[in-house]
């Protein structure tokens, strides 16, 4: 069974290196919850090109798997879960900075 296509565009911010996501407004956000979720592969690829062109903001742009919970994107792979939080050994990174 092939899984349905559900992805967000993500990268690291050029200046801080922090994890960022692509939004519907064609801007970047630090919150996964505000990311645009793509369910159409062709549209996702096209947006990926646009997002990748913003080399003065974003580094290492790629598509990451998510699934929807109550309409909000949640990471599918544990690596992406860590990217939404920060390291597990200290309260550093998004887990403290976003609140």
């Amino acid at each position: 069974m092939s899984r349905p296509f559900t992805k967000v565009i993500t990268a690291n911010a050029l200046l801080e290196g922090d994890v960022i996501y692509w939004t519907e407004e064609a801007t970047w956000t630090r919150h996964l919850s505000k990311a645009e979720v793509f369910e159409d592969e062709a549209i996702a690829d096209e947006q990926l090109m646009t997002a990748s062109a913003q080399t003065d903001i974003a580094v290492g742009v790629y598509l990451a798997d998510v699934h929807l919970e109550n309409g909000l994107p949640q990471p599918t792979h544990f690596r992406e879960t860590f990217r939404t939080k920060g390291p597990s050994n200290y309260a550093h990174g998004k887990q403290v900075e976003l609140n």
Binding site: L14, E16, V19, G60, R79, P87, H92
Partner: protein, 554 residues
């Protein structure tokens, strides 16, 4: 300790100026990431999972108090108040911002430090025995040799675009504390018929295809070192596989061609290039040797040590595990544990760095070392000062008495920081250390080295851990493979895989089963885990790890 000469200082200043301009051009958009990435890597700047990471070289692991203080300042001013000491005798800062990095590099240059050649396909930071110049069992201090190699390799035009990274390690003792057999070239200072020279080992390495280095030359006269090492790099530079990055390290070249063939080629090349070395390098070497002259030792009584050892059980326990014999019997080598139970292996806060700097300045002839086991060493402390040193370490949470024990774990950053990781390593180390501390078994278990890597690159040296742990991603879940019997010393051995991996939850019980099996089968408490493993082999441990499959087989 080695001092920058005018050339060194000007070179670093020029590099920093260039990099400042490159960062500015990256930020204003005139450089793309593809153009900028190789430039930042040349200056030790990586982009990790959550932030940039700056890797700062600590040549052969040697620091003075002022340098340690500056690292503390950098940690506080531009990072989150701590630094991570690594198995490569480096320090890494996990949270610098891109625009601050040029200022950080200038701050490093103020204390004769830099981040050059800590990344990329160059000759990397030369590592050395962390007890160099102090160890009782040493033929000669290996650091002048390491410094000579550093000067020769830094910015050497032929060595900026090698097939792959190249790592050198040097030791001056037969007891190998620098893991020289897991480096591209390992160098041991040896004495033969009264003459000091080198044993050259080639083709060691860990990573995806681990190999133990082989002897290329059993005795090399001292003055032939640079032409010989250069000949070795030349041979590899020509034969090395640039088509496949997994086959590009010299260990693969040695493996594919055989050590005899490589040795023949190296000797031939060596004969060709030796005449071009005029001997000026030996003049440099003797100058360098002067800057590593031993400190002026004190001749005071050591009775304060004996008194504390008799009366204070905590001090005694620490002295028993964290001190090593110094060549001067009135002195000791102090290993400061950065492995407090439950803490992140190798991390030190800015305050802790300052405490260590103070201790080095007041009691340690102003010398500190970073060990590849992620601890800090005070190489020269007079025994009468040890009770005071211990009291201050304890007050700074640096007094853990666990060097060489089960909680003295090497762990790479793993998926908590590293973009290449397939699983976490730090929390695994934290759990193991806390668990065995709670069981109060640590000192009974005795010497046992656990080493953890968060992916196949093996930065945590897991292949040479008595117990090695490799974190993998199995269908989207963290999974940990165990190897047993590895050894990174002069008897270097690669660990043997025990069997299928364990989940993050199943790993700690598995480690406990291994340890309890050892405690049951050892002949007496003086038989270490590694000795017992060598005597009995994998079978009893396998039976303890996989009781189900034993039952099925029966």
């Amino acid at each position: 300790m080695y001092k920058y000469n005018d050339f060194d200082a000007a070179f670093v200043a020029e590099r920093n100026k260039q990099f400042r301009a490159q960062v500015a051009r990256r930020i204003d958009g005139s450089l793309t990431e593809d153009e900028f990435k190789p430039l930042r890597l040349m200056n030790g700047l990586y982009l990790q999972l959550h932030a940039y990471m700056l890797r700062v070289a600590v040549p052969y692991g040697t620091l003075n108090g002022r340098q340690m203080r500056q690292l503390a300042m950098i940690a506080e001013r531009w990072d989150k108040g701590y630094g991570h000491f690594t198995t490569r005798q480096n320090i890494q800062f996990n949270w610098p911002k891109l625009q601050d990095v040029p200022d950080i590099l200038d701050a490093l240059a103020e204390v004769e430090m830099h981040a050059i050649q800590t990344s990329g396909n160059t000759i990397r930071n030369v590592t050395a025995d962390h007890f160099a110049g102090a160890a009782a069992d040493e033929v000669e201090d290996p650091r002048p040799t390491a410094e000579l190699l550093r000067q020769w390799s830094t910015d050497h035009p032929e060595f900026q675009f090698l097939p792959r990274k190249f790592k050198l390690a040097v030791t001056g003792s037969e007891a190998d504390r620098a893991v020289i057999r897991a480096h591209d070239i390992g160098i041991q200072v040896v004495r033969q018929n009264g003459e000091v020279g080198y044993k050259i080992i080639v083709g060691g390495g860990l990573g995806r295809t681990p190999m133990i280095g082989k002897v290329l030359r059993a005795f090399l006269p001292k003055q032939d070192l640079l032409p010989y090492v250069e000949a070795t790099v030349n041979v590899w530079n020509r034969l090395g596989r640039r088509d496949n990055k997994y086959k590009s390290r010299i260990k693969i070249t040695v493996h594919e061609h055989g050590i005899e063939d490589i040795a023949r080629r190296v000797e031939a090349r060596f004969e060709q290039i030796r005449p071009a070395f005029s001997g000026i390098d030996q003049v440099f070497l003797s100058e360098i040797e002067q800057s590593f002259a031993p400190p002026t030792y004190r001749a005071d009584a050591t009775s304060a040590f004996d008194a504390a050892y008799e009366t204070d059980p905590l001090f005694r326990s620490w002295a028993d595990t964290n001190l090593t014999a110094h060549r001067n019997p009135d002195y000791a080598i102090v290993s400061i544990s950065l492995k407090k139970h439950g803490a992140t292996p190798g991390d030190a806060t800015a305050d802790q760095m300052r405490v260590m700097a103070d201790l080095a300045e007041r009691f340690g002839h102003d010398e500190l070392r970073v060990s590849h086991e992620q601890n800090i060493i005070l190489p020269h402390v007079h025994k009468s000062d040890l009770p005071q040193v211990y009291a201050q370490l304890r007050a700074a949470e640096l007094g853990t008495a666990n060097i060489g024990l089960i909680s003295d774990i090497i762990a790479c950053p793993g998926m908590d920081y590293c973009a290449l990781a397939t699983a976490r390593s730090i929390p695994i180390a934290q759990d193991i250390a806390e668990h065995f501390d709670a069981l109060k078994l640590e000192h009974d278990i005795g010497p046992l080295k656990i080493k953890i890597s968060g992916c196949i690159n093996a930065c945590g040296h897991h292949h040479v851990g008595h117990i090695g742990i490799l974190g993998l991603d199995r269908a989207g879940v963290e999974n940990y493979q165990i190897t047993l019997g590895g050894d990174g010393t002069e008897d270097a051995t690669l660990g043997e895989r025990a069997g299928p991996g364990f989940s993050a939850d199943g790993l700690l019980p598995a480690i406990e089963r291994i340890v309890r099996t050892y405690l049951e089968l050892r002949q007496d408490p003086s038989e270490t885990f590694l000795q017992a493993y060598r005597r009995v082999g994998m079978a009893p441990f396998k039976a303890a790890l996989y009781p189900e499959s034993q039952a099925n087989a029966a």
